[in-house]
Symmetry: C2
Subunit: 301 residues, 2 copies
DNA sequence: GCGCGGGCCCTACCCCTTCAG
DNA sequence: CTGAAGGGGTAGGGCCCGCGC
């Protein structure tokens, strides 16, 4: 088992399950969402599907329950929860973005709270000897963001603040409290993602921390991951309209064998073709169309 | 709130949540999967993401637990479950297809068990008067599949059989027993989907049933829904490779305004362009490429 | 039909201690 | 010290079945 795709392929999943898997891997592994957050988001989506059926069934709790195999009692709670979200702006448990807020916002908050003003004021920690400072600086790359090295306590305070902030819109009963285990999870995820560097010094009881990047994910990777999710969401949405036979939605699938030496040429040509097509028909003020295309070697299924 | 899309739009979801919603609506509302089945499938996908991290973290339960905010104890159970699926072929709880087996297979099973041999032998139920038969026939369309009208008991027996069959590959402890409420759910879903017609007669204590279609979903709709899910899964998979910067994967997004009177022309032209492109580079024996495209009026977001 | 009562069990959460390397 | 393995707990929710209206 070398990578994610192999695991997914080995299980010979249906297309529906595949989409679910790609989504889970993107959210949990790439994005750093908590396991529980993903499950909650799935439950919320299902709740809204139930709500939609409820409206369709003349607001009959029982009929809705039968259709989806849920107890009317439970349907009632679900309907109430979704209704509150739609009419009173109460929040549903969703993922909200590629990454959780508390991970995403840390670099900016760190830079704002502990900026390096002058060259040699690069530590927010008191009582370090000159030798210790030198050893730490030698461990760190030169091109790190201009944020001070901080203590474990300072890092934990920031995590605490950012977590509270991400929970502030929820009523008290729905707030996820920042337990020790949750704080520890956030700290580890920050280190694992490469956002934060942990510095161990034998002479100190607790490690120190340095900020490694100005954003949670590496800049290029984050952009591509975001594009992947956004494109897929819009593609899915367009395909739903196509499946409903709505007019003026076009779906094209082409499968072809391309000789090795012509592959690059073919793909470049494709790009040019579509640009020309867009230029040819584009005219300010017309109806705005969006086109999504992805092509590559066919995954063996 | 007129349709599903409006509900989804009203909640101003992130792209990730949108994908989850489209998936939930397709599985639960369109496909007829049980609410619990969808939640299980989501949990299974998350478990596999956890398993993948576990391998990456040198099989450390603890580190995996920290990264995803799960107890090591629970990680251990998850790892064991996925490992059993990969090495011993034990089944994971997945959706498995667009529709649940017990819904999908009913028309074929009905036709095989209660076929109409001769014109007037169209009832599998004893003791109906000629007048009753005439009234029932007048309620039914002429072009129904050649399957007999059956009793409630006979329908329930078929549901029981098909459900057992769909569960046979699970060990006894994992089998979902056919409870009264589950059987009732299946019966309702069959009627709601238009697969089965319920016939009420005042003179009879229990309703009778007729088969309405030769497949669970209307033929055309089923094909388009399947294509939607399959295309989206492959699009997602290709985009994942694009996001990882794998070579020879191309992603194109075009946004343009098309004047009303040129829209049909533009879309037809697009189709021709891509066919010509495929013909131009196709050569038997080359590397097999797949291209997915969808275009339509831009959804206002 | 409908609403309300009971129940079981899994699992996401929290925390603790003990023992081995 | 860290990691594995065991213990404790609460709350929510997916399931089942009743009864009375």
């Amino acid at each position: 088992m070398v990578n994610d795709t192999e695991l997914i392929d080995n299980l010979s999943l249906s297309s529906m399950d595949q989409i679910m898997f790609y989504l889970a891997f993107s959210a949990i592994r790439t994005g750093g969402h908590r396991h529980g957050t993903f499950l909650n988001a799935a439950a919320t989506a299902a709740k809204c599907a139930v709500y939609s059926t409820y409206l369709e069934q003349n607001q009959s709790l029982r009929k809705t329950g039968f259709l989806h195999h849920i107890e009317p009692k439970r349907v009632k709670e679900i309907i109430e929860e979704v209704r509150m979200a739609l009419t009173e702006g109460k929040l549903l448990k969703l993922m909200g973005a590629q990454e959780p807020d508390y991970l995403m916002h840390l670099p900016h908050y760190w830079l704002a709270t502990y900026p390096i003003a002058t060259e040699d004021a690069d530590f927010a920690v008191q009582g370090l000897s000159l030798q210790e400072k030198r050893r730490i600086r030698s461990k760190l790359q030169a091109d790190l963001p201009k944020a001070k090295v901080i203590s474990t306590v300072q890092l934990m305070e920031m995590i605490e603040y950012l977590h509270e902030r991400s929970q502030q819109d929820f009523p008290d009963k729905d707030k996820l409290p920042l337990s020790d285990s949750l704080a520890e999870h956030i700290r580890r995820q920050l280190i694992h993602s490469g956002t934060v560097i942990k510095i161990d010094l034998n002479s100190l009881p607790l490690p120190l921390y340095a900020l490694a990047r100005e954003s949670y994910a590496p800049a290029g990777k984050a952009a591509r991951t975001r594009a992947m999710i956004e494109d897929t969401a819009r593609f899915f949405k367009l395909m739903r309209r196509w499946a409903e036979q709505q007019p003026r939605v076009i779906r094209i699938v082409e499968e072809l064998d391309i000789p090795q030496h012509r592959i690059d040429q073919a793909l470049e040509h494709l790009d040019v073709l579509l640009q020309n097509w867009a230029n040819q028909y584009h005219q300010e003020g017309g109806e705005t169309f969006i086109l999504h295309l992805c092509a590559g070697a066919k995954p063996d299924e």
